[in-house]
């Protein structure tokens, strides 16, 4: 009887532990952690955007910030969808390098719209993809903009952005996968198109 109870306890304990392991390993940040992270990252980003230095220097300052705080690899991989599996390791590496530059270009292209800005944290709510932290961005003589950053991982990083209800990575994924479907499903075709987009062909 004792043995049976012990066995049952052991089994239940082990099962609970196993259930906990993935939670610990991939713990999503708490609401406060996510807000603190967005506050720190946002402040550094705003300092760069509001600084009176040439655009090229701002771009140089942005790159390490993005690498440190945005899960570029994870987003890039997500955007390739099912085609990630068929890409060769070399193609995956090259694609991710290009994707990082595409992302950086997308941010720098809109820098002009975001000068003398300030932001405040509105709310943080949990979601299956991570903590969704909403920011209100104020710009002089322009209407305020609401943006939601999805924060996940350890250390926490931005894994997605929402503007006007649309997920950036999901929209980009739709763009890339539709392009690939219409161009024979060859990842190299997408890589060539990204090179062309970046003016490197």
């Amino acid at each position: 009887m004792m043995l049976r109870q012990l066995t049952r306890r052991t089994i239940l304990g082990a099962a609970s532990l196993f259930a906990l392991v993935p939670t610990l390993a991939f713990a999503a940040p708490s609401s406060d952690e996510a807000k603190a992270f967005v506050g720190r990252f946002g402040s550094r980003l705003v300092t760069v955007l509001n600084s009176n230095v040439p655009l090229a220097k701002k771009r140089d300052a942005l790159l390490p910030l993005l690498r440190e705080n945005v899960d570029v690899q994870g987003i890039g991989r997500y955007c390739l969808g099912r085609y990630w599996r068929v890409a060769t390791p070399e193609q995956q590496k090259l694609y991710l390098e290009l994707f990082q530059d595409v992302l950086l270009n997308a941010v720098t292209a809109r820098m002009g719209e975001y000068q003398n800005i300030s932001f405040r944290l509105v709310e943080s709510v949990p979601s299956p993809a991570g903590q969704k932290v909403t920011l209100q961005i104020s710009r002089p003589h322009q209407p305020d903009v609401l943006m939601t950053a999805v924060i996940d991982g350890e250390p926490p990083k931005v894994v997605d952005l929402y503007g006007e209800g649309a997920s950036m990575r999901m929209t980009q994924r739709s763009d890339y996968t539709t392009y690939l479907t219409r161009h024979g499903g060859q990842v190299q075709t997408l890589i060539n198109a990204l090179k062309h987009q970046l003016g490197r062909d």
């Binding site: 099912r82 595409v102 992302l103 270009n105 997308a106 292209a109 809109r110 003589h141 952005l161 929402y162 503007g163 006007e164 209800g165 649309a166 997920s167 950036m168 999901m170 929209t171 980009q172 994924r173 739709s174 763009d175 890339y176 996968t177 539709t178 392009y179 479907t181 219409r182 997408l190 198109a193 990204l194 987009q197």
Partner: protein, 265 residues
């Protein structure tokens, strides 16, 4: 990056767009439209993508999208940029407010249809207060009645009507069968469309429609430029962004259970 282009139901030309809409929907519904309809792919992964995007009329929609972008580059973009760069911001804001104010009755009836009395009350008050300035100034926002959007398409979604396939129509933008029907209903709920005959009122109606269309269009030129510059397949990018945004508007309406009485009561 999450650019949405022309996204909401109301930011469009009025009657010309309505005629285009009716014509295209009739065309689509006639005999399956052969080459305008794409067949479901046999590959399981492709089939999953096909179902997810809900765009069986993609060949037709892409033709319409290309036509739209051709007109955009040849005529609409230069006019839109001219409008944006030369008309002072206060005037553009007033034109936008005028359009919003005259649309409030449609918003009010949509809120009633959605069973959201607080939202309906806000829309009603916005119409009353802003009409004291003939609709040119948004005085209601300073009294706590912030602008919100509800349209019949969202109400139909709330009632459980399926969206139907995605459609893209020139001059009308991204939509679905349900939202196109909603757009037609919202035109019926907009009082400016019932102005009696008379030179001044007809002139005002035309001015309102044309100015409103240009104003909202001029505001979206930056988004359209960005869309073309940053996406490999602008059509797919816009489709995905629009579908997500539309769903998020519907979700927000579903989740809006604010108390009926205002905070000060």
């Amino acid at each position: 990056m999450a650019c949405t282009g022309s996204t909401t139901q109301h930011h469009r030309g009025r009657f010309p767009a309505l005629f285009t809409l009716i014509g295209c929907l009739t065309l689509l519904s006639l005999g399956g439209c052969g080459s305008l309809h794409s067949k479901p792919p046999t590959d399981p992964d492709d089939l999953a993508d096909y179902k997810a995007v809900n765009d069986p009329y993609e060949p037709f929609n892409r033709k319409m999208f290309n036509l739209n972008m051709w007109v955009y580059h040849k005529a609409l973009r230069p006019i839109g940029r001219f409008w944006k760069n030369n008309i002072p911001q206060p005037i553009r804001t007033s034109v936008a407010t005028l359009n919003e104010t005259w649309r409030e009755p449609a918003v009010f009836f949509s809120d009633v249809g959605a069973g959201r009395p607080r939202r309906a009350g806000d829309a009603f008050m916005r119409f009353l207060l802003n009409m004291t300035t003939a609709g040119f100034y948004d005085v209601a926002q300073y009294l706590g009645y912030k602008q919100h959007e509800t349209d019949p398409g969202m109400v139909l979604a709330l009632w459980g009507v399926k969206s139907g396939p995605y459609i893209f129509l020139p001059g009308f933008g991204p939509s679905s069968f349900r939202d196109a029907a909603g757009y037609a209903i919202s035109q019926g709920l907009t009082p400016i469309n019932y102005v009696p005959s008379g030179y001044a009122l007809i002139s005002f109606n035309w001015g309102y429609n044309i100015l409103g269309t240009f104003n909202s269009f001029a505001d979206s030129t930056d988004q359209l430029d960005q869309l073309e510059h940053q996406s490999l397949d602008p059509y797919a990018f816009m489709r995905s962004a629009w579908q997500q945004q539309r769903q998020s508007q519907i979700d927000a309406l579903k989740a809006d259970h604010r108390a009926t009485t205002p905070d000060w009561y």
